[in-house]
């Protein structure tokens, strides 16, 4: 067993086209191809995203994992045309057939809320402290769905009920400071769902919450995604959260996707040294007092990312080609793709991926 060993072809970080005939890949709601986002400055230009390619199929929950500064949040903002100035976006993002990059802001405005809704990390900052929950919910619903205020109120209450807020009528009259962090995040989810979006982008929705509340929100999101057949792009740095919510997973590092594939396969047998190192560096419940593998060095400075593969200065299996050549993204088996010159071999016979490959 092993991954394909053919030399990578095409431009470094170039457009990666998935093979035809893969049932999961053909019906994509979101297609990000070779996305670049730069923030030019007088002294240095920060290259936040450097050739990110990512596909999210209809109805799947896609996890986007990376450390801070890996470009995952900027990628999400770019999907809604929300990259703040002076950010420069190039490449292609097709959201429900609509090209986002280079489109007029008025055109992208139509996508926000109705086609794709976003749930932010800190609900306390995303809601306006001066207006009641009800006012903010109905305003959004009226704006996005173009309906009457009274009808919007009904939809808002229904949405609050759906996210299991106790006594939604009363919650409508409350101000954000009167609710707890967990309840506010439920309100944010209700706001996103009330607009009936096709895609929900959740940017670290549970990071600011306590463990027990995080578990509640994860279960809620998982159930809602299942009931409504939602497509979700779930951004997080917590691999455990990914394991609990997502169907597929893409690992980002220094502005690029390093590896993607099904959660089961990827977490069981990571092929990229970065994913593998990360899995062994994070303490996990049930492992006891094992020594953690240390990833040497630090996250790269995105104003001057390392040449070649950005992970090579920290990589245990880096060779000479890693410092000069950017590994191209290529598909291996079982719907997985990887950008690495020296991928780790798959464990013989144990992986669930092997089954899908054989069929």
């Amino acid at each position: 067993m092993g991954v394909a060993t053919t030399a990578p072809t095409g431009q470094p970080g170039g457009v990666f086209v998935p093979q035809a005939g893969n049932a999961v890949m053909t019906d994509n709601l979101l297609e990000i191809r070779d996305l670049h986002v730069e923030f030019p400055g007088l002294e240095r230009t920060v290259k936040a995203v450097r050739g990110c390619t990512l596909f999210v199929a209809k109805g799947e929950v896609m996890g986007l994992v990376g450390e801070s500064g890996s470009g995952k949040s900027i990628t999400a903002l770019a999907c809604l045309g929300l990259v703040p100035p002076p950010g420069r976006v190039t490449g292609s993002i097709r959201l429900d057939g609509h090209e986002v990059v280079g489109a007029l802001d008025a055109d992208n405005e139509r996508l926000r809320g109705g086609v794709a809704a976003m749930i932010f990390q800190n609900p306390g900052k995303a809601l306006n402290p001066f207006f009641t929950i009800g006012r903010q919910l109905t305003d959004v619903i009226v704006n996005v769905r173009r309906i009457q205020q009274a009808a919007a109120r009904g939809i808002a209450i229904a949405a609050l009920t759906e996210v299991r807020i106790a006594d939604p009528d009363r919650a409508m009259h409350k101000y954000p400071h009167q609710l707890s962090g967990g309840q506010l995040q439920r309100v944010m989810i209700a706001m996103a769902l009330a607009c009936k979006p096709k895609l929900v982008i959740a940017d670290e929705p549970t990071t600011a919450l306590d463990v027990t509340i995080q578990a509640q929100v994860i279960v809620l999101l998982r159930d809602l995604a299942r009931e409504h057949g939602l497509t979700v792009l779930f951004i997080t740095h917590d691999l455990g959260v990914v394991g609990s919510v997502c169907d597929r997973l893409a690992v980002m590092y220094a502005g690029r996707v390093m590896e993607s594939g099904s959660v089961d396969g990827l977490l069981a047998s990571p092929a990229h040294p970065y994913t593998a190192s990360l899995l062994r560096a994070v303490p996990m419940l049930g492992r006891g007092r094992t020594e953690l593998m240390q990833i040497p060095g630090t996250v790269p400075n995105m104003a001057a990312p390392p040449p070649g593969c950005a992970f090579h200065p920290r990589c245990p299996s880096a060779g000479p080609s890693c410092a000069s050549e950017v590994p191209a993204m290529r598909e291996t088996n079982g719907g997985r793709s990887i950008a690495c010159h020296h991928p780790l071999p798959a464990p013989a016979g144990s992986s669930e991926d092997v089954g899908t490959l054989a069929s």
């Binding site: 450390e67 801070s68 500064g69 707890s180 967990g182 309840q183 306590d210 463990v211 027990t212 509340i213 995080q214 578990a215 509640q216 994860i218 279960v219 740095h237 917590d238 691999l239 455990g240 959260v241 990914v242 394991g243 609990s244 919510v245 959660v263 089961d264 977490l267 069981a268 190192s277 990360l278 899995l279 560096a281 994070v282 303490p283 996990m284 419940l285 049930g286 492992r287 006891g288 007092r289 094992t290 020594e291 953690l292 593998m293 240390q294 990833i295 630090t298 996250v299 920290r314």
Partner: protein, 314 residues
């Protein structure tokens, strides 16, 4: 192992405009020399208030704190200074705990100047020794905090905490603000330092996986009270208090086979201003009966080294 720190019946209430917040209520525990004790619980459960009381950064209402058999007594700044030479703290966020206008030499050197009046070459040598301990070097002496990454900043904070050669280090969520790939560096460094210097740690965290990795014993707090204590592997393998069970079941697992296992505790942490009359966990507890709502249960010993405050232990 000999007893290093002993805390008995520590209580701290804060009077606010809206009423009295019972931040810490009747908390007792010990830390043996060379031991790592973890204090876990959700935000607002009083973990940090315990830490600050130990350092006398806030004054507890009642209770005793003994260190190496000696009482924490006296109210003068001078006695507080002596106290803080023996136990020290590393805060959660190295981005806010280091003064951005001070050079690393001055950050790590400040406690040495205050406590011993060191200066000149002796000071620099001593600072360098502590920086070397945490894996930094002389080239870093003249730099400012903004020139360092999060992991390096936390190393600087650890070097500062170790400058007075304390016996006990309080670690208040030392890895929570760090990047995932950096957390292991800091955790491993802490374990190396513990072995080399014979340190004891009071490790405050809400991350149970980290606690399992680093701690010998664990204390679980809920709304100002201790609800369970015991050796980490025993408590995590078979928790007695339903809250501990709930915490463990709330940790999302990386193993997809355990995906359905996530069983969140219902409800939220009650307000510390208006806590439930009996067991604070009763409103969220599936096992709670009438007697749970009457009076708060006390921490009762249950087996060697273990204790729990529950009328219906699992």
């Amino acid at each position: 192992m000999t007893e290093l720190l002993s805390v008995q019946n520590l209580t701290k209430h804060f009077a606010t405009r809206h009423g009295v917040v019972r931040a810490v209520e009747d908390v007792s525990f010990t830390v043996a020399s060379g031991e790592t004790v973890a204090l876990v619980g959700e935000s607002g459960c009083g973990k940090t208030t315990v830490a600050l009381s130990l350092l006398r950064l806030i004054r507890p209402d009642s209770g005793f704190v003994r260190f190496e058999g000696a009482d924490l007594e006296g109210t003068s700044d001078r006695s507080a200074l002596k106290w803080r030479q023996r136990l020290s703290i590393v805060f959660q966020n190295p981005y806010s705990s280091l003064d951005p206008r001070m050079r690393i030499r001055d950050i790590v050197g400040e406690p040495l100047v205050t406590a011993y009046g060191l200066k000149g070459k002796a000071l620099t040598e001593r600072v360098l020794r502590h920086l070397t301990e945490v894996g930094l070097g002389s080239e870093h002496l003249a730099r400012f905090p903004h020139e360092f990454s999060g992991g390096q900043r936390q190393r600087i904070a650890i070097a500062r905490a170790l400058a007075l050669e304390p016996k006990l280090l309080i670690l208040d969520e030392p890895t929570a603000a760090l990047d995932v790939s950096i957390q292991a560096q800091v955790l491993n460094l802490l374990q190396v330092l513990q072995k080399r210097l014979g340190l004891s740690y009071l490790f405050i965290s809400h991350n149970l996986a980290t606690v399992e990795n680093i701690a010998d014993r664990v204390l679980v707090m809920y709304l100002g009270r201790m609800v369970e204590e015991g050796p980490v592997e025993q408590v995590f393998a078979s928790p007695r208090h339903p809250y501990t069970r709930g915490l463990l079941d709330s940790v999302p697992s990386i193993d997809p086979k355990l995906r359905g296992r996530l069983k969140p505790v219902t409800g939220e942490l009650p307000s510390a201003l208006n806590p439930p009359p009996g067991c604070a966990f009763a409103p969220r507890c599936a096992w709670a009966g009438e007697e749970c709502r009457a009076a708060p249960p006390h921490l009762m010993p249950a087996g060697p080294g273990r204790a729990h405050a529950c009328l219906h232990p699992l």
